[in-house]
């Protein structure tokens, strides 16, 4: 029972970190101690933390690699933009509108996840990485030439130009090809935190259930899992689709925080960025994902003058982490240092 209670403790620590983060920044904001750049960063931080958690579900728990998570994020972002604009007149309450947008964005991203997952997750090997990589690029390019407008008759789509939308008077162009979506800012920090807590709740409960055990068993040994009567494709799909839907929700939250969002924002670099959060925080470690995502989202803003070197530094950090976590000698070194510290402290206590 000891280990079980330790796991439960860790999940409460995660909720605690998020709530603490919320309280601290709410206090800072209300007392006027928060710079406007930091204020603008709050919702992106929350979005990226959700992205990191959702990717960790695929990479850490299900043991598959997704290199196109930004693709699901952009599906959510642009769905959210269209839905929230279309509902502007119908639902004046911004919180309700935001919630509906997030739900629909999550569903759309989940559907995209199902479409990719069903054929790919039947295969053995790293096919998911290749296909999701392609998916991310395809989605970006499709959105680059997608035009969507809203008027009283409903939602209009075109792949040519805004003119082809044939909008009535008073109609509004929501997605304008490479220019991206123009959006009303309706995301709020509080809603983001609630969404983050929900995501954390779903992931942590999933892991400690028969479904989570099945997903992790398949990760550890596929052949043995099959011999135990598990439907491998089904459980891989469950993990992947839940993850995609969460990425969609994060994308929606993210997009509705800005006046405009371009498809270019959700490119391969963003996918890798999220992967860096997961790898840095520790694969399968939710607490690590939260902290890594929050810190690495804020850091570039704080170090704006080094902006040009950002991707370079990420690449180097990723390589270093890979070396450090996969090298037996370095691992041993870190372990022995940890042991020494423990011994020293226990020795001191004894003395």
């Amino acid at each position: 029972m000891k280990k079980l209670s330790k796991d439960t403790l860790m999940s409460f620590v995660n909720y605690g970190i998020v709530i603490l983060f919320y309280i601290v920044f709410q206090i800072l904001a209300s007392t006027g101690n928060l710079s406007s750049t930091m204020k603008g960063q709050l919702i992106p931080i929350v979005s990226y933390v959700i992205m990191a958690l959702s990717l960790n579900l695929v990479v850490g728990i299900s043991g598959e690699l997704s290199l196109g998570h930004a693709g699901f994020m952009s599906v959510g972002a642009f769905t959210g933009a269209v839905v929230s604009t279309a509902l502007t007149d119908g639902i004046p309450n911004t919180v309700v509108r935001l919630l509906i947008s997030i739900v629909i964005a999550a569903v759309m991203a989940g559907i995209a996840g199902i479409l990719i997952g069903i054929p790919v997750l039947r295969l053995r090997g790293d096919y998911l990485a290749i296909v999701t990589l392609a998916f991310g690029e395809i989605i970006k390019n499709v959105l680059n030439c997608l035009y969507v407008g809203v008027d009283r008759r409903g939602i209009h789509f075109s792949m040519n130009s805004t003119g082809a939308l044939d909008l009535q008077e008073g109609g509004k162009v929501v997605i304008n090809g490479p220019m991206g979506a123009s959006i009303m800012k309706i995301s709020s920090f509080t809603c983001g935190i609630v969404l983050l807590l929900l995501v954390l709740f779903v992931i942590q409960n999933l892991i400690k259930s028969r479904h989570g055990r099945a997903i992790m068993a398949i990760r550890d040994n596929r052949i043995a899992a099959e011999a135990c009567g598990l439907n491998v494709t089904k459980y891989k799909l469950i993990a992947f689709v839940i993850s995609a839907a969460m990425a969609g929700a994060a994308g929606c939250l993210y997009a509705l925080n800005f006046a405009t969002v371009a498809p270019k924002k959700f490119d391969f670099n963003t996918s890798i960025l999220v992967l860096v959060f997961v790898v840095l925080g520790g694969i399968g470690n939710m607490t690590g994902s939260i902290i890594a995502a929050a810190l690495l989202t804020v850091l570039p803003e704080l170090l704006r003058q080094f902006q040009d070197y950002r991707m370079l530094i990420y690449a180097i950090v990723l390589v270093l982490v890979m070396i450090a976590t996969n090298n037996e000698k370095i691992r041993g070194l870190i372990k022995s240092i940890g042991k020494k510290n423990k011994q020293e402290s226990s020795g001191k206590e004894a003395a």
């Binding site: 990760r219 052949i223 135990c228």
Partner: protein
């Protein structure tokens, strides 16, 4: 070692015979003309057996004879190219590995395959997966059904582990278990799927004589407690001759002999398969030599201990 009562057999319609005590229930497994070809190479052909509902059967043969392939055919890791497998009278044609397990065949692996990062208890619970029933929303939102079923799963997992003296290891990570315990955990996990037939692929590989002795008792205990059939592949002749009631000998993918331990030990075809035609020149090969010694029933206790050491060394070579 082979001091158990001789099992009386009755013939059944179809490919074989089953113990007289299982007559009322019919065979749990029947294979007729079972075979598989890999691009013209017949790895297994004309494999015909019947296994009684509470029978302990043995599958032996030299390295590369196709024993593990037979297990892979029964569990549909490979789809057979010929023949029929009837499980409790039902044809398993077209089923996947997972479906065969749900239909009642569980197995262990020659090279241990545990869920390394999960705890011992969770390994067993994965085995119970299809008997613990609640849906995804229940697990995500912790509905009452979740708590009920998880409590039941926890209790029966500990019960199962307790039978094998592993209840105190429930929270240990599977990968940090000692070797013998890992082999036992594989068996417990297989039993957790509530099988009708348990396939053990070299359960005694790498075990010392006293561990093997314990394993034999455990296998008998499994049969008696759960009332299921066991079919095992093993190179350790002490174990095979000690607990198997019916033995099938494979060589080059073909069944060369079937019968009780007594019959097998005296079968000239079996002796030849293990030794080649010139028996006295192959004395240096540990495994073959030990089989021959068994066959001649002249094994002194000291020699036995020595031979099983040699066997251990040769066992890991296959596949």
């Amino acid at each position: 070692m082979s001091n158990q009562k001789e099992t009386r057999y009755v013939d059944v319609p179809g490919p074989g015979r089953i113990p007289e005590r299982d007559k009322g229930r019919g065979p749990v497994l029947e294979c007729t003309h079972l075979g598989i070809e890999f691009g013209g190479l017949k790895a297994v052909e004309e494999f015909n057996i019947a296994v009684g509902a509470t029978e302990i059967g043995g599958l032996i043969g030299p390295n590369g004879a196709g024993k593990t392939t037979v297990f892979n055919l029964l569990t549909k890791v490979y789809q057979p190219t010929h023949g029929v497998i009837l499980l409790d009278g039902k044809d398993t044609h077209g089923m996947s590995t997972a479906q065969v397990n749900q239909a009642g065949i569980a197995r262990t692996f020659q090279n241990i395959r545990l869920f390394d990062k999960l705890s011992v208890e969770d390994n067993v619970k994965v085995g119970m997966h299809n008997n613990v029933k609640y849906h995804l929303p229940s697990s995500v939102f912790r509905l009452p059904k979740f708590w009920q079923e998880e409590k039941r799963a926890h209790e029966s997992a500990l019960e199962l582990l307790d039978i094998f003296g592993m209840a105190d290891l429930a929270d240990v990570k599977a990968s940090s278990l000692p070797y013998g315990a890992q082999r036992r955990l594989e068996i417990v996990r297989a039993l957790a799927t509530k099988p009708k037939l348990l396939l053990l692929d070299e359960p005694a590989a790498g075990m010392n004589p006293s561990e093997t002795e314990e394993l034999m008792n455990n296998i008998r205990k499994i049969r008696d407690t759960f009332g299921i059939a066991v079919l095992l592949i093993e190179h350790d002749m002490n174990l095979v001759m000690g607990i198997c009631e019916n033995i099938i000998v494979l060589n080059f993918g073909k069944v060369i002999a079937k019968g009780t331990p007594e019959e097998i030990q005296n079968d000239p075809v079996v002796i030849e398969a293990y030794l080649g035609s010139q028996a006295d020149e192959t004395g240096s090969e540990g495994f073959a030599a030990s089989a021959a010694k068994e066959a001649q029933k002249k094994k002194a206790e000291k020699e036995k201990a020595h031979m099983s050491e040699v066997e251990e060394a040769s066992v890991d070579v296959e596949e």
